[in-house]
């Protein structure tokens, strides 16, 4: 159903056959439902991490200002900026400017890739320098590694899937396929990935920052 038909159906009175309760298309509503269910998954993982963190006074603080907090702050900047570029892509697509929309999506993908590279570097540092694994660490608090890698790993998986998804949308937009609503739906997913990081960054990194 096109967005025009959706709007027309929504604005007609119920007696005239109208009554789309959300005045939105089914793809967007489907993505919203997925986002809510995925939000519950991340909420459960974040809660498990926070519960372990608060209940354990020996919880390690392995994140030095340099490089961990700087890295994670730059990662936050990358994701926030990529959200802005995604908004611009949706805006341009709504105005029918496919080329500009494609370029903004590419910029969004660049932000996502920068995030993944920085995150991988941070993981490697944690494993090789701090000797943290999913099952053990030098501070004898194995829950730290287990919850940290599960939470950040699931998020990084979402980012990688998001970059692939945006790549597919971008090439379709450039070739004249896909409509504005398809770009908007991919944007919803990308903003959700950004939103989840807004909780992981303070709860995982800032709460375990090593203060001299």
């Amino acid at each position: 159903m096109s967005s025009h038909q959706v709007t027309a159906a929504a604005t007609a009175s119920a007696w005239e056959g109208g009554g789309s309760p959300y005045a939105t298309n089914s793809k967007k509503f489907g993505m919203w439902l997925f986002i809510i269910s995925d939000a519950l998954t991340f909420s459960a993982l974040l809660f498990a991490y926070t519960y372990s963190r608060v209940s354990n006074p020996d919880w390690p603080k392995p994140f030095d200002f340099t490089p961990s907090i700087i890295f994670s702050s730059v990662m936050t900047f990358c994701l926030l900026s990529s959200s802005l570029t995604m908004v611009m892509a949706v805006h341009k697509m709504n105005h029918g400017n496919r080329k500009a929309a494609g370029l903004w999506i590419l910029a969004t993908m660049a932000g996502g890739l920068a995030f993944v590279v920085l995150h991988a570097m941070e993981w490697i540092r944690l494993i090789n320098v701090e000797h943290v694994t999913a099952f053990g660490n030098p501070w004898n608090v194995p829950l730290f590694g287990g919850t940290f890698f599960a939470l950040t790993g699931l998020h990084m998986t979402h980012v990688i899937i998001g970059v692939i998804y945006l790549g597919i949308v971008c090439q379709a937009v450039m070739r004249g396929k896909f409509k504005a609503e398809d770009v908007e739906v991919s944007g919803l997913y990308w903003h959700f990935v950004d939103l989840v990081w807004m909780f992981i960054f303070p709860l995982v990194y800032l709460m375990s920052a090593r203060v001299a």
């Binding site: 709007t7 027309a8 604005t11 309760p21 959300y22 005045a23 939105t24 509503f29 919203w32 439902l33 809510i36 939000a39 519950l40 909420s43 459960a44 809660f47 926070t50 519960y51 372990s52 963190r53 608060v54 209940s55 354990n56 006074p57 200002f65 907090i69 702050s73 936050t76 900047f77 926030l80 900026s81 959200s83 802005l84 995604m86 908004v87 611009m88 805006h91 908007e184 944007g187 919803l188 903003h191 959700f192 950004d194 939103l195 807004m198 909780f199 960054f201 303070p202 709860l203 800032l206 709460m207 920052a209 203060v211």
Partner: protein, 107 residues
């Protein structure tokens, strides 16, 4: 309400300048969070402050970047009260986490 009027209402406020301002606010709030983590505050106080700021950031992203502010209120009512209720149900157990360290036998 005519279709044109509804479309005009839909677009009103969703400008690139607004999105730029929201992006700057989000960056500032992130900087405040980083500043706060180097203040020697009790764990629960720090947790409350950081989660509070994160909720504000999440609300801004959902409202403006995810466009929910410009959607029908019925969409919000369908999706979010249930999500918030489920998260609050999980948070009930957080009180236990604060008591566990006190229940440890002395070393």
């Amino acid at each position: 309400m005519s279709m044109q009027t509804e479309q005009a209402e839909h677009i009103e406020g969703a400008t690139t300048a607004t999105f730029g301002k929201i992006w700057i606010v989000l960056l500032v709030l992130t900087a405040v969070e980083v500043f706060l983590c180097y203040k020697q505050l009790p764990t629960v106080t720090m947790l409350t402050l950081l989660v509070g700021l994160s909720v504000i950031k999440a609300a801004l992203i959902i409202a403006y970047f995810m466009h929910l502010k410009f959607e029908r209120f019925s969409l919000f009512l369908t999706l979010f009260p249930m999500l918030i209720f489920c998260i609050l149900l999980m948070l009930i157990f957080l009180g236990d986490a604060t008591r566990i360290p006190l229940m440890r036998p002395p070393a």
